[in-house]
């Protein structure tokens, strides 16, 4: 009698253990590759995006830096605004839903094509659904080269 219970217990444990092992063999790599983009840690680096001398005073200038994704390299646009020797770098990503804002010369504003948000030339919200100003990137000028930390 006790032997039978033991065999059943053994069988149950064995089935559970082997089943778990089989699930793990397939499940772990499946979950790992699927979650990979979220697990990847991002290290910020100083990246050159232009030269100070080519930036006009107070005139937002669109520049890009490169980001590697998978097998591709993608250009990410930002805007540089020079004030004397200082450079302000604004993300072109609308703070509402992430669409790409563009600079309109005529009104000296950034406009978002998706839901009508408008930002001032320093990135402050003028009108529309965005609830915070355009993100600012850390900048520095080294030997006349403008670098942003991304």
């Amino acid at each position: 009698m006790t032997e039978q219970v033991d065999r059943r217990t053994f069988a149950r444990k064995a089935v559970a253990a082997i089943g778990a092992a089989i699930s793990a063999v397939f499940g772990i790599p499946a979950a790992a590759t699927m979650l990979d983009p979220a697990l990847r840690s991002k290290r910020a680096r100083w990246t050159p995006v232009g030269t100070l001398s080519t930036l006009e005073e107070a005139q937002p200038q669109r520049v890009t830096y490169e980001v590697a994704v998978g097998w591709e390299k993608r250009e990410v646009p930002i805007y540089l605004i020079r004030t004397g020797q200082d450079v302000l770098a604004l993300s072109a990503k609308c703070t509402h839903a992430g669409c790409r804002v563009r600079y309109a010369d005529k009104t000296d504003q950034f406009k978002c094509p998706c839901h009508g948000g408008i930002f001032s030339s320093t990135g402050e919200v003028v009108v529309g659904p965005p609830s915070r100003p355009l993100d600012r990137l850390e900048t520095r000028v080294t030997k006349g080269r403008v670098e942003v930390r991304v």
């Binding site: 983009p37 994704v69 993608r74 669409c99 563009r102 009108v127």
Partner: protein, 435 residues
């Protein structure tokens, strides 16, 4: 008693209501088959997606028809499944012992929604890019896990072909497996429960499935598939310009029809991206799934379930109203410049008739023009007196050619993304201000 495979009984009626679910299934199978065949000619990278679709539509033998069938199958299945669900809700047929059927059915509806959504993103054109951008914006706005959600959606820091491949894997691998699994579970549950009886005992005529019900279902399936083919030929799905990942983005950023309401809310309400784009749709989905566990009363007759029907009606009306508002709104290119300063008067002797201009831009839909009684009253009245008092000629021209800029708050817009050209502007200026 005859013993046949089709011994179960079904409602004995010829209208399509009892067969809506089956029609959705037939169309969904059509979508699977056409999708497999489209995959032979489609490449999921931003460089190749749009050109490969253009190639399918223009070069591949019957490719345009195949793509039309696939696109409309997705939309038909979604609509038929929704109508079926609404009918089940109306009749209270989701209640115990059919709760599992309702839950699995909701799962099928979500999968169909997922197909339609990822499907239009796979086009890799400007509108698809805008759709991915907004989806990422909502994902990023999630509290705490926003960064991870965005990375999982995009497959990296920014939108790239990695993103498109992920969407492709979801659209062509995960969702089909989920659909087949859920449909099998659904059919098994349905076979066990049998068709729902009418909620009143009267008029509950039933007949054996074979031949009457199966003949009825086949006839209706034929009708719907014919309609599908007509749609595929007459209204081929669009394909926009190839997405420019480094470009300025598209001003024509409306999603497909089933998400217009979310986009309209995002447009109208300040901030709260996650609440509108994530939490609100999530809450509605939760309500849908949880319905049989929330509305537990045994009563099935609609007139004894007024509160739940009223709530559902409000939700549907809200979604419908927002969708209508979104359809009415047109994105107008913000940066379109007024070409000419208005100081130069139109050439002497040039006499313009503004009627065609007013008609083309549907001005009278919102404005009462020159006292015309047929005009709308959403916008201010337009006539010589008003303009003479309020505007200068130059300001008028600037406004009319730049509605996005000046009338952001009022929602003034033009139909179909078109702006008046110089000649039309001249005509309007001359009409309202004189030479």
């Amino acid at each position: 008693m005859a013993h046949t495979k089709y011994a179960f009984v079904v409602p004995d009626r010829w209208d399509p209501l009892p067969t809506l679910g089956l029609l959705a299934l037939v169309i969904a199978v059509g979508g699977l088959v056409t999708g497999i065949l489209l995959a032979f000619n489609y490449a999921p990278t931003f460089e190749a997606a749009q050109p490969s679709i253009v190639n399918i539509s223009s070069n591949v033998t019957l490719g345009g028809f195949l793509r039309g069938l696939h696109f409309w199958a997705g939309n038909f299945a979604l609509v038929l499944a929704a109508l079926h669900g609404i009918r089940v809700f109306w009749n209270g047929a989701y209640k115990a012992p059919r709760r599992a059927l309702w839950v699995v059915g909701c799962g099928i509806f979500l999968v169909l929604l997922g197909f339609a959504y990822t499907g239009y993103l796979l086009r890799g054109d400007e509108r698809a890019l805008a759709g991915i951008v907004v989806a990422d914006g909502v994902a990023s706005s999630t509290p705490v896990v926003g960064g991870a959600a965005s990375a999982l959606l995009l497959g990296g820091e920014v939108i790239s072909s990695v993103t498109l491949v992920r969407l492709y894997a979801i659209h062509t691998q995960m969702l089909p497996v989920a659909l087949v699994g859920l449909v099998l579970a659904f059919l098994w549950l349905w076979r066990r429960a049998g068709p729902a009886r009418a909620h009143t005992d009267a008029s509950d005529d039933t007949a054996p499935a074979w031949p009457r019900a199966i003949l009825r279902d086949t006839v209706w399936a034929g009708v719907v598939v014919t309609l599908l083919a007509v749609f595929a030929v007459a209204l081929p799905p669009e394909i926009g310009p190839k997405a420019d990942l480094g470009g300025p983005g598209s001003p024509d950023a409306q999603p497909e029809w089933f998400f217009l309401w979310v986009n309209q809310l995002l447009h109208r309400v300040d901030g709260m991206t996650f609440l509108i784009g994530g939490l609100l749709p999530g809450l509605l989905v939760g309500l849908m799934f949880g319905l049989p566990f929330i509305a537990r009363g045994k009563e099935r007759a609609p007139r004894r379930r007024i509160p739940e029907i009223a709530i559902a009606l409000l939700v549907l009306l809200g979604i419908g109203g927002l969708t209508a508002a979104a359809l009415n709104r047109e994105h107008v290119e913000h940066e379109t410049e007024a070409e000419q300063p208005a100081d130069t008067a139109p050439e002497a002797g040039a006499e313009f008739d503004i009627a065609p201009v007013l008609k083309k831009f549907r001005c009278a839909q919102c404005h009462t023009i020159d006292g015309d009684e047929d005009g709308g009253d959403t916008g201010p009245a337009l006539n010589r007196k008003v303009f003479g008092e309020l505007y200068t000629r130059k300001y008028f021209r600037l406004k009319v050619s730049n509605p996005g800029e000046f009338w952001e708050d009022t929602g003034m817009s033009y139909p179909r993304n078109r702006l008046p050209n110089d000649e039309e502007l001249d005509a309007l200026t001359e009409h309202f201000f004189g030479k």
